[in-house]
């Protein structure tokens, strides 16, 4: 899948807000792409744009989303319905609100399978049980007829994953799938996703604000800021050798186990809300290594090698060494 120059704006009472101004994002077949960013960076908006599930206040202004050679933005609503939930599926942060409380959790699962594979409900039921077993749910027959409130958060999220995989999709969008879960449950789910990779051939876009989770699960990482991807590269490159000052600062600002530091380096200010698109770099006001050019001209993404792209005017955007102390110290 490829996204090019995608612009999405929101109409609010305060005026128009530029939610997305995404220049370039590619998802490779079979990979797990971690999409990280803070609140308002546009990471969830990207997923909703792909599925064309933006609400009425949002408007796609331009761009294209090429999925298997076809532009999703040119599809009719009817065509989208054959893609949504089949070729592209989604797992949300809060499984409780995405499951209908008055139906057993197996009900939608069986229906999806029956519709997708055009088999009888009996056969679909068996497949559904297999799917629940695949996501390591104990006694899948029982889970199939359980109501959402009877399951724990972790189990519900497993059901959601089973549902998302049941149509054998080509792309799975996971929007903060572990954020609402406890750490030990999150560890279970992350391990599950890792184990499932062998069984499925879908690409996974894993959206999260948690850099630790991304480091744990992703093959490649895209860092979003103010509606655009500012850096993309292999997980190792992003974490070991960040090219954008925002990525580097973000990595330094998290407290890490086993690295007690007196004060944490901070990124001054807050994530901007873009009401008036500016010519320069959106990180300019908070950037410690900014130059004059950053204010007036939007940086283009440059390849630093091995598919590591950085959108920064500074040669490679690295921070001066005095700012990166504490990064490797124990």
């Amino acid at each position: 899948m490829q996204i090019r120059n995608l612009k999405v704006a929101f109409r609010t009472y305060g005026g128009r807000v530029q939610a997305l101004d995404l220049h370039r994002l590619d998802v490779r077949p079979g990979e797990i792409l971690g999409l990280v960013g803070e609140t308002g960076s546009g990471k969830s908006m990207t997923a909703l744009s792909i599925l064309r599930l933006l609400d009425r206040k949002a408007e796609v202004q331009s761009g294209e989303i090429i999925f298997q050679g076809e532009d999703l933005l040119k599809k009719t609503e009817v065509e989208m319905r054959t893609i949504r939930g089949r070729r592209i599926t989604m797992v949300f942060q809060d499984p409780m609100s995405s499951l209908n409380p008055v139906f057993p959790v197996g009900e939608p699962l069986v229906r999806i399978i029956a519709a997708h594979e055009k088999v009888s409900f009996r056969a679909a039921r068996q497949r559904a049980i297999d799917m629940l077993a695949l996501v390591r749910l104990p006694s899948p027959e029982k889970v199939l007829s359980a109501y959402p409130h009877e399951l724990s958060g972790g189990m519900r999220q497993r059901v959601m994953i089973a549902m998302a995989l049941s149509s054998n999709p080509d792309l799975l969008l996971a929007d903060e799938p572990t954020t609402a879960l406890d750490v030990t449950i999150q560890a279970q789910i992350l391990r599950l996703i890792e184990e499932l990779r062998a069984h499925i051939n879908a690409s996974i876009v894993f959206i999260t604000h948690n850099l630790g989770v991304v480091a744990r699960i992703a093959d490649r990482v895209a860092v979003m800021y103010a509606g655009d991807v500012v850096e993309i590269g292999s997980t190792a490159d992003i974490f070991r050798n960040p090219g954008h000052p925002y990525t580097a600062l973000l990595l330094q600002a998290i407290p890490r186990l086993g690295q007690k530091r007196g004060t944490l380096p901070v990124i001054e200010g807050t994530v901007p809300v873009v009401t008036h698109p500016q010519p320069g770099c959106y990180f300019y006001p908070r950037c410690p290594v900014r130059i004059e050019r950053c204010r007036v001209e939007r940086p283009e993404a440059k390849d630093l090698g091995d598919g590591h792209w950085v959108a920064c005017w500074k040669q490679d955007g690295r921070l001066p060494p005095d700012n990166s102390e504490g990064n490797g110290e124990v």
Binding site: E38, H209, P255
Partner: protein, 325 residues
């Protein structure tokens, strides 16, 4: 001198099912026999644990925002559970709370000035210019501009709101703050700002913190002592550096290992526990971690382990302590 805060045998049960005349038939053991203490002023005790372990309830009970079921809470040597309304009001000047969600922690209908002024009005009966000077000073203390004084909470970002919450908590110059997940609703880049602010305030004002958090990295960054909670009980406590580098309790080990570290080189080191946290309603008599414990023994089901000093102030509640994994 008595310790700043000492909690002994604290219990908080919530009624779950009631008979029709109002008697409870089963109880949720949210906090079930907790002992802890903060000795020196200016230090931080971190309470780590997952949702439902009772850490938030513990903070509320210590501030008497919830009535305790049993136990004693000594603040500077006085059992605050025995205080009457007037005496409690006086103690409340010294104990304050910072909430997890800065969105619900601020009354949306009053300005920041009135929010921060409320404690000053209540206890010092300040008004007019004196009040405004104090409010401006407090806002400056937490890094907010005095020009923000007439704004309403919705005009602020999450980080700024949390600063307002902190300013309100500091208004009466308390000695002790309960920090209930102070950064978990905030973005990563803002979290660092707030953590730095809290540390800075602690150093300057000699504040003691009870830091409640599910995020072990935050606990490690902030705390001098750590207590790990599971199902209403403390399973391990001691100096932060010690607990978070060499945990003894199998739950603490699993919890620590499950924290995702932003370093792709550390993949797959986590101990994945089976199953889910059991319900705290009518918990089992043996070790509460029994059902998920990777190293359980028959004795663990029958007898509940007690928290015992394993040397060097490192306390652990496990039958296998010392010869565990």
């Amino acid at each position: 001198m008595p310790p700043l805060l000492e909690v002994r045998g604290l219990k908080k049960y919530f009624p779950v099912r009631r008979t029709w005349w109002g008697g409870a038939t089963s109880w949720l053991h949210a906090v079930d026999g907790v002992d802890l203490r903060i000795d020196a002023p200016g230090t931080t005790l971190g309470i780590a644990g997952e949702s439902g372990c009772g850490k938030t309830t513990l903070g509320r009970v210590i501030l008497r925002l919830l009535p305790a079921t049993a136990g004693e809470i000594y603040f500077e040597g006085r059992d605050i559970l025995k205080l009457n309304y007037q005496a409690l009001r006086a103690v409340r000047r010294d104990m304050q709370i910072v909430f997890q969600d800065p969105y619900s922690a601020l009354d949306p209908r009053i300005t920041v000035r009135d929010i921060v002024a409320e404690p000053l009005r209540t206890h010092l009966h300040l008004g007019g210019r004196e009040l405004d000077d104090q409010v401006a000073a407090l806002l400056a203390e937490v890094g907010l501009d005095a020009s923000h004084i007439y704004r309403f909470p919705h005009e602020f970002s999450g980080g700024q709101r949390q600063r307002v919450v902190i300013a309100r908590a500091l208004a009466l110059h308390p000695k002790f703050l309960v920090l209930d997940e102070p950064t978990s609703a905030l973005d990563v880049s803002v979290q660092a700002q707030i953590l730095n602010l809290l540390k800075d305030l602690q150093a300057r004002l000699g504040l003691s913190y009870l830091l409640i958090s599910h995020d072990l990295s935050v606990v490690e960054h902030m705390a001098d002592e750590v207590a790990v909670m599971y199902l209403g009980q403390i399973v391990e406590r001691g100096p932060a550096a010690e607990i978070l580098s060499h945990p003894w309790h199998p739950y603490a080990q699993a919890l620590l290992s499950a924290v995702p570290v932003p370093d792709p080189g550390q993949r797959g080191r986590e101990i994945v526990l089976e199953g889910n946290v059991p319900s705290a309603v009518d918990p089992p008599t043996g070790c509460r971690f029994y059902s998920r414990c990777p190293v359980r023994r028959p004795v663990c089901r029958e007898k509940a382990p007690v928290l015992a000093d394993g040397g060097g102030g490192h306390w652990v509640a496990c039958h296998l302590a010392g010869h565990g994994t």
